[in-house]
């Protein structure tokens, strides 16, 4: 097939999409299906690996290689795929439960190793598939079937976890913000190493509207800011607000866009990335975009280099190595 002529349709499988009406997953699927033909990579080299969850149904809908595995283990299985064939583009699709609850350890170690994968974490702050229990990203006090009086566990911040694990590409985007999402995923794909992308995703059934302020056209300008490397961090309906860093107290503040010391995003700075990952709460927007990007050798590059000599070994010589003797 001529790769150049592929379109969105070529990346849609023949399976009926079975998410709930209005689920944010639809938008993400469309964005990915639209993005892939533009990446200039053969379709047969695309592999989507997922765990279990609503989000993890994703691979079924992609007309690529796909593996819907078991709960929490997608990064480990993807690791095997990539190590077996580093030519492949390997995508991990996971949820906040799949990737950060049961799968937290694999997530952490995959990020640490810096295997060349793209990890898309659909964060709806809830366990969708199992009917709405609170997840490790659910906000304090979340009422759910398993926390009828409100949850008492403080949530994880996915991007903070990724940075703490040594993640070298950490980004955040939003399900329905197609252009932005597409750009971030594209950047993740271009990055050699593990690209961790948190996608804020609405679950209209069990956690409807939690991201409404950052998604709604009317409120979004006040509640989110798109950070870009080298650009000042400015937001607000008329771009009137900005973020500054109180360099004494080492914390972020909201200021006017015309202030002198508006913070300029530097995606190579891990401290800034941590500050931006944590940004939120009353008065603050949340940051979307590439928070951190740092090129370092990927595990699979090193692994392949080591494996380079493969097949040079001589089996007969191995069996006869060391001390042997002849009986005649």
């Amino acid at each position: 097939m001529n790769q150049a002529n592929l379109t969105l349709k070529d990346f849609a499988s023949d399976q009926e999409v079975r998410w709930c009406p209005g689920c944010g997953d639809y938008a993400i699927l469309k964005t990915v299906q639209k993005l892939l033909p533009t990446l200039g990579r053969p379709r047969e080299n695309q592999v989507f690996v997922s765990g279990i969850g609503c989000s993890s149904r994703f691979p079924y809908y992609m007309n690529t290689y796909g593996f819907h595995t078991i709960h929490g283990r997608a990064p480990a299985i993807a690791t095997g795929v990539k190590l077996a064939n580093p030519e492949l583009d390997v995508w991990v699709i996971t949820g906040d439960g799949d990737g950060l609850s049961i799968g937290g350890n694999h997530m952490m170690h995959t990020l640490r190793r810096n295997l060349d994968l793209q990890i898309l974490l659909f964060n709806n702050e809830i366990y969708g598939l199992t009917k709405g229990q609170y997840s490790p990203t659910s906000r304090l006090g979340t009422r759910s079937p398993s926390s009828p009086a409100g949850s008492i566990d403080p949530p994880l911040s996915p991007c903070a976890v990724a940075l703490g694990a040594g993640g070298a590409f950490v980004a955040r985007s939003i399900d329905t913000h197609a252009k932005h999402l597409s750009a971030v995923i594209g950047a993740g794909h271009a990055h050699k190493g593990t690209a961790f992308i948190e996608i804020l995703q609405n679950c209209p059934i069990y956690n409807d509207g939690i991201f409404e302020p950052v998604k709604d056209r009317a409120t979004a300008p006040d509640f989110r800011v798109e950070v870009e490397h080298g650009k000042p961090i400015v937001f607000g309906r008329d771009g009137e607000k900005a973020i500054r860093l109180d360099r004494e107290r080492l914390c972020l503040e909201v200021t006017g866009a015309d202030a002198e010391d508006v913070l300029v995003h530097d995606e190579s700075n891990p401290v800034l990335a941590q500050l931006l990952a944590a940004m939120g709460g009353p008065g603050f927007p949340i940051a979307i975009g590439v928070l951190y990007r740092h090129r370092q050798p990927s595990f699979d590059e090193e692994f392949s280099r080591r494996k380079g000599k493969s097949k040079e070994g001589n089996l007969a010589a191995l069996l006869q190595s060391g001390n042997t003797w002849v009986v005649d």
């Binding site: 492949l88 006869q320 060391g322 009986v327």
Partner: protein, 628 residues
Amino acid sequence: MELTEEKLDERHLDEREVVDVVVRFAGDSGDGMQLTGANFTLATALYGNDLSTFPDFPAEIRAPVGATFGVSAFQIYFGSEDVTTAGDALDVLVAMNPAALATNLANVVDGGLVIADRGAFTAKNLAKAGYAANPLDDGSLAGHRLLDIDISAQALAAAEPFGLGHKASLRCKNMWTLGLVMWLFDRDLGATVNNLKTKFAKRPEIAGANIAALNAGHAFGETAELPSGIHVYRVPQARSAPGLYRNVTGTQALAWGLLAGAELSGIELLFASYPITPASNLLHELSNRGDFRVGTFQAEDEIAAVCTAIGASFAGSLGVTSSAGPGVALKSEGMSLAISTELPLLVIDTQRGGPSTGLPTKTEQSDLNMALFGRHGDTPLPVIAPATPPECFDMAREAVRLATGYMTPVMLLSDGYLANAAERWRIPRVEDLARTPVKFAGDSGEFRPSRRDPQSLARNWARPGTPGLEHRIGGIESDHDSGNISYEPANHQRMTDLRQAKIAGIAHDIPSQEVDQGAASGKLAVVGWGSTYGAIHQGVKRARGEGHDVSHIHVRHLCPLPRNLGELLGGFDAVLVPEMNTGQFARLLRAEYLLDVESLGKVSGQPFKIGEILAAIHAKCRKEGPAQ
């Protein structure tokens, strides 16, 4: 059946020529007993004896000097024919300190030889070993031959010219001892000398001191006045098929079998594992083999390891993972996925003492139930078990063949004994090994992951990266025809039946069960699996020598079982299954064939002794009637 032991009271050392001998080198972890044993083994192999060895490590990494729980030992059984265990009782015990004596003496036969380093029998060491009086002096060794020499002093003297200092010189005492034992059995020093030169190539003074000690020990035997009854013993050479030989441990043979399997199948292996005793050595062995068709990956845990292996298999390599009981337990959810998606996978369980952390450095066969039944859902898979270290080479290749040929996970059961034990191996010619090439789906025609070979029922395997074969698989039940998700009741039944039939069908593709020793029917069949082979072999041999109607049957394919096994066992009046668990295989045979199979269980972390098998046969024959 109750476990008892019969003493094989063979006072070998009463003769000048003996058929076989068991020697055990025992000392502190720091005394170099493993190295000593390895060199003695090599010399013995070159001498032309058959042999079997077993290193016995303490659980602690480095125990305090002189502690009984820190004794490290190496045992070798060698003889002129058919040696298959590391021996029940010791003919010769080398005790480098009181702790080594205290922990091993009970195992020495009457009239056996004890070689002790008097220099290490200090008041402090005696106390640590719990001796009130010095056993070298208080007559408590009267029933044994005793060579108590101040080996420490002898070694220091021999090493003196090399100027190493006290501590390093003292380290030569193991070589001095080795020299003496070499003399005792007329072994050649040459190979050891070469080994020492290679090992210490950069420290010639250390090599020199060790070689001097080795020679001095040997010379001591030749020249000193030894107590009567201690002299050179001749062990006639084994009659062996012509060929090139080596010693091989179970772990080595397993590693090489995997490499051979990969080469013969034309496939790459990805070996993903997480360290655990006694399975780690396989990881270590393969980590050095990057020049073959294997990549190794140390995962963050066992779940990641099995999942990485599964991912590799999806991508067209063969994923292999390896662990011991606690780790294999963690892999069970992953294995269920591989069964459901019909991906090849190899899971190697080097069993150790359980439950839980149990006895990590000891051996056991108690993971059989887990291998057969330890997953949620109906999840049949082939389970195989090599019987001897050399056989690990063959069974590893068999595992590769079954996994790729039937698109299924395969479990291979080894154990702590098998992994570390070494035996002589006639090295096969690579050209003689059967090729088992893997076929991947091509890009012609309409592809479905669910299409199967009508014979094997294996589904076809498409490698990501192949244009036109894009497809999705997953752990939700899939439609028999399309391979898509299906919640259809009838389809689930059909797929369940198919999974059963596929594995059951393998019975047509494995050798039918043979009888290892004895007739194909009769009074008693002793049926074993895995590493109990050696002891059962010897026990049955001796019983047969005494005229008992008993046969030895050893099963390598535990699931599916060989097709003729039921009929074969039905031909015996009684069936006895010795195994290192509470009767797991016996239960399998009972359910399968409705035969009143009896279990002889041993769960002490120790392999069976020949005398235990023999005693059980005697008891059984007494019950069933006199020997014919």
